[in-house]
Each structure stands twice: as C-alpha cells, then as structure tokens.
C-alpha cells in the first residue's frame, strides 16, 4: 500500500514527509473502491442530483474514506511495523509522526462529514460519520485485535459507501441500496481470508487473530467456500427483486459461478504451492468480481 518502495533512513527524515506519504495515509486503493461503489449507489438511486453536487458528494465520501484510512494507520502502526506488507507505510517507516497522522485523519473526518452535509444532506453525512467511526474506532481499535470475526463485522464499514451514495442522491435509504450493502458485506470475508491464508505467518507474528491463525487453514477454507456461495447468491438479489435486468443477471451468474469455482479450488488444494496459487487466484479474482459486478450495475443504471 505504501506509495514509496524505497527504504529511507527513518531518523534522518523524521517529520519531513513527501506528498506521496500523505497520499499513502489516505489508502488510495481502498478509497478508489469506496468511490466506485458510492458512485454506483448515487447513479442507481436516480435521485436527480445535479452532476456538480454528485461530484462534490463523491469527493466528500473519498475524503472521509481517506480520513478513516489515516486513523487506521495511526492506531495500527505497531502491527504494520511487524508485517513485511505494511512495514514501509509512512508511520512505521518513520516518515510521518503518529500525531501528524492522527491530526490529519481527524481534520479530514470532520471536514468530509461537514462538506457532505452541506452538499447532499445530513442523512448521507450522518451515514459517512458512522462509517468512519465504525472503521476507525469499532473495527480498528476493538474488533481487529480481539476476534477472528474482525473482518466479517468490520466489513460493514466497506459495504456502507453505496448506501451513502444512495442517501446523498435521494435523502433516504432504499431497499436496493441495502442489497448493494449485502453484496459487499458477504464479499469481504472470502476476499480477506484468501489473503490471510497467504499471510498467515505474518498475522500470527503481529498478534492479529485472523481466522487461519485462530481456527486453522482448513476451517478458513470451509468458511471461504460458504461465504463465496452466499456472495454469489447475493449478487443475483438485485435481479430477484426486480431492480436489475437480465443482462446484469447473466453477468452476476457467470461471475458467481467463477467465484465459487475458485473457492472450491482453494478448499480442495490444501498443501504446498498449489494451495498458495489457488488462494492467490481467488484473492485476485475477488477484486475483479466486485468491480465487474458494480460496473454492470452502473452501466444499467445510466440507461
């Protein structure tokens, strides 16, 4: 995630961060998924929001997501320092002081909520505030180090953006936006557990109770398969409820079958390199799955 792959001497440059370090604090890759799913909620709501206000609302949501990311990095700096994947993030690498990241996150959180309230109404703003709190406080400070269900419950934070987008466009909560929430909610566990299978030792060393560490790899594979079946069904829900057409239905069915097939591969191949590459394939495909599914919804919604 860190924007910079080059290791710099930490003590020499402490407190003198590059612009890229502040961008890295915002977790731009997570932010891009948040903005995309919020856009889908915004467009599908057909609320007649002016494009300029829609853009301003999306920007506010993006800033809010970045604020949550910064607060997460502030709290998790000790864990990040112990994992190879995250050791080069700005705080563990010594380029940004913890207090700076905290202040950065808090200021952006308050600003993003205030902006969204002024641009698109206070229901959406309240939703954004709750999401930031849920991710930065409830997930990061409580769930993550406490229970193997951390990313299941915490996944709700990542699933809220389409509902925020919907609320920004309409000022209300629609059943369709709840379905979009459920798709991302059930998608999160197999996505992160596939990664956790690959990074089990690192999570164990950092003391994070991810499912493979606590319940073992076989139990993780079983749960991945169960959630994959659930997410494949959840992907079809917009069709069953009459919100989406057959075009979307065909895409969702195909993607769902592929998702479950890859989950079965992860379940079957339990040893050695074959097991690793199966987990890696599922992880990579899960990102593509969510992107294509929401892209299909977006295209249908724009007609």
């Amino acid at each position: 995630m860190s924007a910079s792959g080059t290791a710099r001497p930490a003590e020499a440059l402490s407190g003198f961060a590059d612009v890229a370090d502040y961008v890295a604090l915002l977790k731009p890759r997570v932010m891009s998924l948040v903005v995309f799913t919020a856009l889908v909620g915004l467009v599908r709501a057909h609320g007649g929001i002016h494009p300029v206000l829609g853009f301003a609302a999306l920007l506010s949501i993006a800033v809010g997501a970045g604020a949550a990311g910064s607060l997460n990095m502030w709290w998790d700096a000790d864990i990040d320092a112990r994992m190879a994947r995250t050791a080069q993030r700005p705080i563990p690498a010594g380029r940004v002081a913890p207090g700076e990241a905290l202040a950065f996150g808090l200021v952006l959180a308050v600003a993003s909520v205030a902006m969204l309230g002024l641009f698109a109404g206070w229901l959406a703003a309240g939703f954004l505030a709750f999401t930031i709190f849920f991710y930065a406080v409830f997930y990061t400070m409580c769930l993550k180090r406490w229970t193997a269900q951390n990313i299941v419950i915490g996944g709700a934070a990542g699933a809220f953006p389409p509902m925020i987008g919907w609320a920004a466009a309409t000022g209300s909560i629609g059943l369709e936006s709840v379905l979009l929430f459920l798709i991302i909610f059930f998608w999160t566990p197999p996505h992160f557990w596939a990664l956790a299978l690959l990074r089990k030792k690192e999570y164990a060393r950092a003391g994070v109770p991810m499912l493979p560490v606590v319940a073992g790899e076989d139990e993780t594979r079983r749960q991945i398969l169960i959630y994959s079946i659930v997410v494949a069904i959840a992907g079809l829900m917009p069709v069953f409820f009459g919100f989406a057409g057959l075009g979307y239905g065909a895409i969702a069915a195909l993607l769902g079958v592929l998702f479950v097939t890859l989950a079965i591969e992860v379940w079957r191949k339990r040893r050695g390199i074959a097991a690793q590459s199966a987990a890696r394939r599922l992880f990579a495909f899960s990102v593509l799955y969510l992107f294509l599914l929401f892209a299909a919804l977006l295209v249908e919604g724009m007609r």
Partner: protein, 55 residues
C-alpha cells in the same frame, strides 16, 4: 563563529527543503481546488437566487 551558527537554528537539507516545497504546493492546489468546488456548489445550489437577497 559558533554564536553565528547557533542563531541559524535548524538548517534544512536540500532534500528536506524540496519536500517542504512539494507539500506547500500540494496544499495550495488542494485549497484552490476547494475554493473552486465551493464556488461551483454555491452557484448550483442557489443559482440566480444568490443575487436575490435583501440589501
């Protein structure tokens, strides 16, 4: 000579000065962007009504 150096305080390296300049420019661009955004949102939300107020 020593007193003269003391008065200088913290002396930034060339790299640190470059980064501070980059941060300043980035902040200026962000602020300008937000000024434009708030202007646009104001026009969209209020439209011609912005002129329609008691003097």
């Amino acid at each position: 000579m020593a007193a003269k150096q003391k008065q200088k305080g913290i002396v930034l390296s060339a790299e640190q000065r470059r980064r501070r300049r980059a941060r300043s420019i980035a902040l200026a661009l962000v602020l300008a962007g937000f000024a434009i955004l708030f202007y646009a949102v104001t026009i969209v939300k209020l439209g011609p009504q912005i002129l329609n107020r008691p003097i």
